[in-house]
């Protein structure tokens, strides 16, 4: 387990196997009884020169011509794996302490669900699955939530093209 402090916020980086235990400890021993949010981030293409925010693929348009919107310098963070999942916890007591629990994982790996600890995680985890393709082990109902049930792909991934969704023309029967 690793602790980081930046911008006045505390981040606990844990391995996926330790997550359930860490969350239980934070909830029961440290009083973080309010799960505010679960955010997943895709770091594919992070620190690649000339790219900021979007990677063009053959199936999509690259809206950023290289070197027009590039980085001033390469970012310092070296993401250990492709995705991060951040759990933002809040302690309902004076001072409103917050902590971020962060798990890193690669495509195809999964993290344990925290629905049994914080029931509000239900929809947050479904959203992370739907939009980012993060799999949560032990979630009772891990199905798409914002996109259509038969949607393909996970739109918030960096390799998901913008403007690349198939358009059906009536002449192309």
């Amino acid at each position: 387990m690793e602790t980081k402090d930046a911008y006045g916020e505390t981040t606990l980086v844990v391995e996926a196997e330790q997550l359930a235990e860490a969350c239980r400890h934070l909830r029961d021993e440290q009083g973080f009884d309010f799960l505010s949010d679960i955010s997943a981030t895709d770091y594919l293409g992070w620190a690649t020169k000339g790219v900021s925010g979007y990677i063009g693929t053959t199936s999509g348009r690259d809206l950023n011509a290289p070197s027009t919107q590039g980085l001033g310098r390469l970012p310092q963070l070296r993401p250990p794996r492709r995705f991060s999942v951040s759990y933002h916890l809040l302690a309902l007591r004076a001072g409103a302490e917050r902590v971020r629990v962060q798990v890193w994982l690669d495509d195809g790996e999964s993290v344990p669900s925290v629905v049994s600890l914080w029931p509000t995680a239900d929809w947050h985890e479904r959203e992370a699955w739907d939009l980012m393709g993060i799999r949560f082990d032990g979630h009772p109902n891990l199905v798409r939530i914002l996109m259509d049930d038969d949607w393909e792909g996970h739109p918030l991934r960096k390799d998901y093209p913008i403007g690349g969704e198939p358009v059906r023309f009536s002449s192309a029967e």
Binding site: T41, L71, S86, I162
Partner: protein
């Protein structure tokens, strides 16, 4: 827990459905019965505040199963914001929650400023607070108007929209747009406050408490209103916390929690206001909390006006030429200013690498914004923690054993705004 430990118990145990907290399943013994009727409530129903679809299982008039289907208003704001410079991205959050647009704008701007470590002039802070409180009144007015309309108090709609319009007039006066003002910039405000704003705003502050009295006169002791709201949609404090509820829903369940008090941002520690609290956890209590909040917000607006009066002629935006657009008049005479203007507009400013999670108390509760920057001119990732998202997920917890007519009152009392739920 330390907050309001003397709360009475509304009900024993928990009402959160298991195993899926957001799905109320038909009980085993009823499953094969012929009397279960499955009804699709929405997505295009006037009382769903947008496009919420509820799949309701009814046994007679009683709700025995409930599942919310969302996503009809999913617009991909978060993905879009990754393609826009920080500067342009400010227009997006307002449209996520189009009723409390000012608060959403604030949370994103605060996140940018946190990464940039930008000092904001005092005048901008107080004006932001003023507009956010006006916006809270605006949001509660829209809630009251529509929620009352849905359960039969039709005339309320016209009264509430009368005052709502005055607030929109004030917005228009400040920035030219009635909604989605984009008045907050990283560093402060887009323009100085027009001098005509103050007398008009004072008129509104004088008018508003009387208006709240009027609304209360219409429904507060109205037998039909009480019958439709008291004891309906119960939510205990423990369940509310477990389901991530915030704002008036949490305070209506007896949890004394308001970020403006517990984690003062802007200048909330310098103004005097109360946090309305109710213990009953029903639709009526959530209504009462919002009514009182309108009064308290009016008081905050009044105090902000007094402070802003003393700040005439002071700067309204930070003096940081790498982030803030130079004054318009300088563009004609200064090459330096013209270059800065051009660079900020075309390339945008770069925001230092890092991740922050900024939270404010929106009219609906805990509104969070998680931002990751790679040091470039565009956000790497933006994620909004929408209070409506959590509130809508709690609908099955509140609706256990409710009648189908109560369901409308319950969904209304949660104040879920579909733009924010679906983003």
């Amino acid at each position: 827990m330390a907050i309001a430990p003397e709360r009475p118990r509304i009900y024993e145990g928990t009402r959160i459905p298991a195993p899926t907290p957001s799905v109320l399943e038909v009980p085993e013994e009823l499953r094969d019965s012929d009397d279960i009727l499955q009804v699709n409530f929405g997505p295009n129903h006037p009382s769903t505040h947008g496009v919420l679809r509820l799949v309701v299982d009814l046994s007679g008039e009683e709700v025995v199963g409930l599942r919310a289907v969302i996503g009809y208003l999913h617009t991909g704001f978060e993905k879009n914001m990754e393609q826009k410079t920080w500067w342009k991205g400010i227009t997006y959050p307002e449209r996520i929650d189009y009723v409390s647009f000012q608060t959403n704008e604030l949370v994103f701007v605060l996140a940018i400023e946190k990464l940039l470590a930008l000092e904001v002039p005092e005048k901008a802070t107080w004006m932001r607070m003023l507009l956010c409180e006006l916006n809270r009144i605006h949001s509660h007015l829209v809630w009251l108007a529509t929620a009352a309309l849905e359960i039969g108090a039709i005339s309320m709609f016209w009264y509430c929209f009368r005052e709502r319009d005055q607030i929109l007039d004030l917005s228009e006066m400040v920035c030219g747009a009635r909604m989605h003002t984009r008045y907050f910039q990283a560093g402060g405000l887009a323009e100085d406050i027009p001098s005509g704003f103050f007398p008009e705003c004072r008129k509104f502050v004088e008018r508003m408490p009387k208006a709240v009295d009027d609304y209360e006169g219409l429904v507060d002791r109205n037998q039909i209103w009480l019958g439709r709201t008291v004891g309906i949609g119960l939510l205990s404090a423990e369940d509310a916390i477990a389901m991530g509820q915030s704002g008036p829903v949490l305070r209506g369940s007896g949890v004394d929690w308001d970020l403006r008090k517990q984690q003062p941002y802007l200048a909330y520690d310098e103004v005097d206001f109360g946090v309305p609290l109710r213990q009953g956890g029903d639709v009526y209590d959530r209504y009462r909390v919002r009514m009182e909040e309108m009064r308290e917000s009016t008081r905050i607006v009044d105090q902000c006006l007094d402070r802003l009066d003393e700040m005439e002629g002071r700067p309204w935006i930070a003096d940081d030429r790498k982030v803030v657009l130079p004054p318009r008049e300088e563009l004609h005479t200064s090459m330096e200013s013209l270059i800065h203007h051009f660079k900020i507009v075309t390339e945008g400013y770069r925001v230092p690498e890092g991740e922050v999670y900024v939270v404010v108390e929106s009219p609906r509760g805990e509104l969070g914004c998680y931002v990751v920057s790679d040091g470039g001119p565009k956000p790497w990732r933006v994620k909004f923690r929408a209070p409506s998202f959590a509130a809508t997920a709690a609908a099955p917890t509140l609706s256990r054993g409710a009648l189908v007519a109560d369901l409308i009152a319950i969904i209304g009392s949660l104040d879920g705004l579909m733009g924010e739920v679906d983003r």
